[in-house]
Symmetry: C2
Subunit: 130 residues, 2 copies
DNA sequence: CTAGACCTTGTCGCCGGTGTCAAGGCAACG
DNA sequence: CGTTGCCTTGACACCGGCGACAAGGTCTAG
């Protein structure tokens, strides 16, 4: 399988696949003419990468999962390194949820306050004008 | 007040203040020698900018708030444009909280699954070896 | 022979808020 | 007059995951 076919089957671009390669995530063989040649297993790998990216992982975080798949495991999640990353990411997400919750509260209060102020100003204006 | 003083008093850098200016957020006068001269009110403006940035606003979103302050209001929040932005941002934050919640759940499940798999594998290995 | 559909490497651009350095003007003090 | 310390504009660097384009090699069909 050449890069174009893999790209299409994985729903991404050749540019992206080459980018993953420079970051050590995908490893094609080379045919005599220098073309990248991928076997079926790489399709799985690329899907894993895309799934994790979609969840908010960076390419560096994804490497252990790919290694895990490549080591023959049915899932990329089961190896110790992957689990460690999962734990860390979960903690990060929790922290971010906290912060975002705080921001939400602040925004909400700010909005409520602003609306109250506007109403008061409006009332005063009407009183003054009457 | 020159730019250095404002920067120090606002807890930021001169670079940052000039950047805000190029984006229409801060408007100093110029003295005869070309130096930027700020009046006291700008300190308030810069604080508003920084507070909103910290909450996750972009510079473009902040412009209405600055205009509102500059229009003489005690708070930058009370003008219609500001309120509109606040509403929009609140909605964005809510949407993001949703997504992040989903991600959290997925991550949590994935982690739980991975740990279960590891335990099962471990058990099978021990049984086989015994 | 040629057109076209692949492939290769390399490079620049984006987004947003700053850090940082360069080259030069201005003010104040000794 | 020189040093010091402020100011000016301008421009490059960063981060991350690509898009987009250039210039060229390769293979196949007509």
């Amino acid at each position: 399988m050449l890069i174009g076919e893999l790209a299409e089957r994985a729903g991404t671009s050749t540019r992206t696949l080459r980018y993953y390669e420079t970051h050590g995530l995908v490893r094609p063989r080379r045919s005599a003419n220098g073309y990248r040649v991928y076997d079926e297993a790489e399709l799985r790998v690329v899907h894993e990468i895309r799934a994790l990216l979609a969840v908010g992982f960076g390419l560096d975080d994804i490497r252990p999962f790919v290694a895990c798949l490549r080591a023959g495991h049915a899932s990329g999640d089961v190896c110790p390194d992957s689990v460690a990353v999962l734990r860390r990411k979960l903690a990060e997400v929790d922290a971010y949820l906290d912060r975002l919750g705080t921001v939400r509260r602040q925004l909400h209060d700010q909005l409520a306050q602003a609306i109250i102020q506007r109403e008061e100003t409006c009332l005063r204006t009407r009183q003054r004008d009457s």
